[in-house]
Symmetry: C2
Subunit: 116 residues, 2 copies
């Protein structure tokens, strides 16, 4: 598995390398893993305010992250013309395929936090 991945990385052309880098930069932004994780925890669509409360950041930052995720096709944004506005966010199919990795990562983080 590891060796196969290393080979893949070695054989990659420049554009693929760029994409890998882009994705890593995206995932490394503050609160990004957290947002993806909580969107994954519950299969039902989440509202902006729920996400904001859960990650504990300013709305500016949450907005930025969500739109970055949307731009990369990992999150789907649906706005309803209610008053006041209602907006829901869900993970796309692509992002759902990331879920097992995220769960595994968070499992490790939680285990490690327990031990401290």
């Amino acid at each position: 598995m590891t060796a196969v991945q290393a080979e893949r990385m070695g054989a990659m052309c420049d554009s693929a390398r760029t994409h890998v880098n882009e994705l890593l930069v995206l995932l490394s932004k503050s609160k990004m893993l957290h947002i993806l994780y909580i969107l994954n925890c519950d299969p039902k669509p989440m509202r902006f305010s729920e996400i904001k409360k859960s990650v504990d950041s300013s709305s500016t930052t949450v907005t930025r992250r969500l739109s970055e995720l949307e731009a990369h096709g990992l999150v789907k944004r649906t706005a309803y013309p209610t008053v006041p506005t209602t907006v829901e966010y869900t993970l796309t199919k692509d992002a759902v395929s990331l879920a097992p990795s995220l769960e595994s990562l968070f499992g490790w983080v939680l285990d490690r936090a327990d031990k401290q």
Copy 2:
């Protein structure tokens, strides 16, 4: 799995929450996942210059990341009194338990980069 994790997060005390946050901030720093990944790719100790070349950052940043990882007990640093200095880095046992998650994450990233 997901529900269990959500429950664990909900039941966490403040100090555990702090630890989770700390770990997520640590893992979200630029090049951090990359460094952990390449340290994991090869089981043998890696030298500073190899790591630096692989992640393509300034030595300042690589040094910072490696010492942050060492401070969190994820990386072990061994310096040999040769001339010029030789320094080797290896993942600790704790970090090795993170490997499957990282491999899974990178697998997703590589798959996704392929499709672009």
